[in-house]
Amino acid sequence: MIYKVVKNVIEATQGIEDNMTLMLGGFGLCGIPENCIAELVKKKTKGLTCISNNAGVDDFGIGLMLQQKQVKKMISSYVGENDEFERQMLTGELEVDLIPQGSLAERCRAGGAGIPAFYTPAGYGTEVAKDKEVRVFDGKPHILETALTADFAIVKAWKGDTAGNLIYKATARNFNPMMAMAGKITIAEVEELVPEGELDPNQIHTPGIFVQRIFQGERYEKRIEQVTVRSA
């Protein structure tokens, strides 16, 4: 097997430079690569284009990078939980490309799967369709969407093995598998790293072929955005 383990988050994020394009897994704060984000905040890498469904909150996740103005451009579907984000966007400090969530997921998958473009009905007739080719299939108009790739994709999994195979937990899976496919270099941080052969080959969500570096993260905070409970 091919050994993908790196020593720590420092080694994992080596080579991430100013002005690169990064994909970051997660939905809201669920399933985000906390360790790598913290390291990028420490490294103060600037001018980044970040592809991520959301932009974290003001004091966690990608929000921490926004506070330091490390991000030049965000490519996301929803950025509603972040005041600093909205401020930077409205003043024009931050470029923002808002993409329908399904198109974002599929464009990442396409990037990893060698499919340069596909048609989708999402966004037809809206400002999302601006400058995009429209084609009618079966009487229904669709727009052409192109693949997304990144210099580095950074994903977070529940378990991983030394060959880079990943298993996610519950809804922390979200964008991680597609982004893992679409990175030129994909970094996986996992809660538990096990030797190859310990994960059931039938139950792996991301095959190790998509992962170039893996390490076990430390001290996951796993903050919850909207704690919602029912009365007992």
């Binding site: 929803y78 809206t126 400002e127 029912r230």
Partner: protein, 217 residues
């Protein structure tokens, strides 16, 4: 006039047996509380879960288990988790029978605007554009008028669109409307609300055919 829970309750009556249903944030989320007895339904959340159950009891929250509104949830037996691409394959591929979502404006041709107020609110469309572009059944849950009393059921949307010609049914605090032939067809009135009130609150073309019954809960 209906309150938010009653709007949700009225929408729940539209759910048919064995449907998969996607509920948006806000009033739509409340629909899950009013599914009629004997109706089997599975709720999908576009962040990657089918078979959502109620919110957890305090202390049982799991950071790895949330819905698209980022709220902690639980799952029911038979639930399944999947990635975002598969989730939108379900939505785009019309495997989800009903989408319920909110709106800022709906037009008489079925256009919907619910994601952006230029220079003011730019949170993003999330999954709404995929949902409205693909769903066979879309029910919009909304207040009939805005805080200034202006109609949100219009001849043409004034805000940036989320989708074109896709809304088939609207349930507001005042009534149930069906959209066809470029018009709002009045189907039911909220208890105690007159046809006249609905007329006055609707900017778009309103068609009133015969006697309009009150909703029955």
């Amino acid at each position: 006039m209906l309150d938010k829970n009653q709007i949700a309750q009225r929408i729940a009556q539209e759910i048919q047996n064995n449907w998969y249903v996607n509920l948006g944030i806000g009033i739509p989320t409340l629909v899950a509380n009013y599914v009629p007895k004997g109706i089997n339904v599975e709720f999908q959340s576009e962040n990657g879960v089918l078979g959502m159950g109620p919110f957890p009891f305090e202390g049982d929250e799991d950071a790895d288990l949330i819905n698209a509104g980022k709220q902690t949830i639980t799952t029911l037996p038979g639930a399944v988790f999947f990635d975002s691409a598969t989730s939108f394959a379900m939505i785009r591929g019309q495997h989800v029978q009903l989408t319920v979502l909110g709106a800022m404006e709906v037009a008489e041709n079925g256009d919907i605007a619910n994601w952006k107020i230029p220079d003011k609110m730019v949170k993003g469309m999330g999954g709404a554009m995929d949902l409205v572009a693909s769903a066979e059944n879309i029910i919009v849950a909304m207040m009939h008028t805005n805080k200034k009393g202006e109609s949100k059921l219009l001849k043409n949307c004034t805000l940036p669109l989320t989708g074109v010609g896709c809304v088939k049914k609207v349930v507001t605090n005042l009534c149930v409307l069906e959209i066809k032939n470029n018009a709002f067809y009045l189907i039911e009135r909220a208890p105690g609300v007159s046809v006249e009130e609905i007329k006055n609150a609707t900017e778009g073309t309103l068609i009133i055919e015969g006697n309009i019954p009150e909703m029955v809960f």
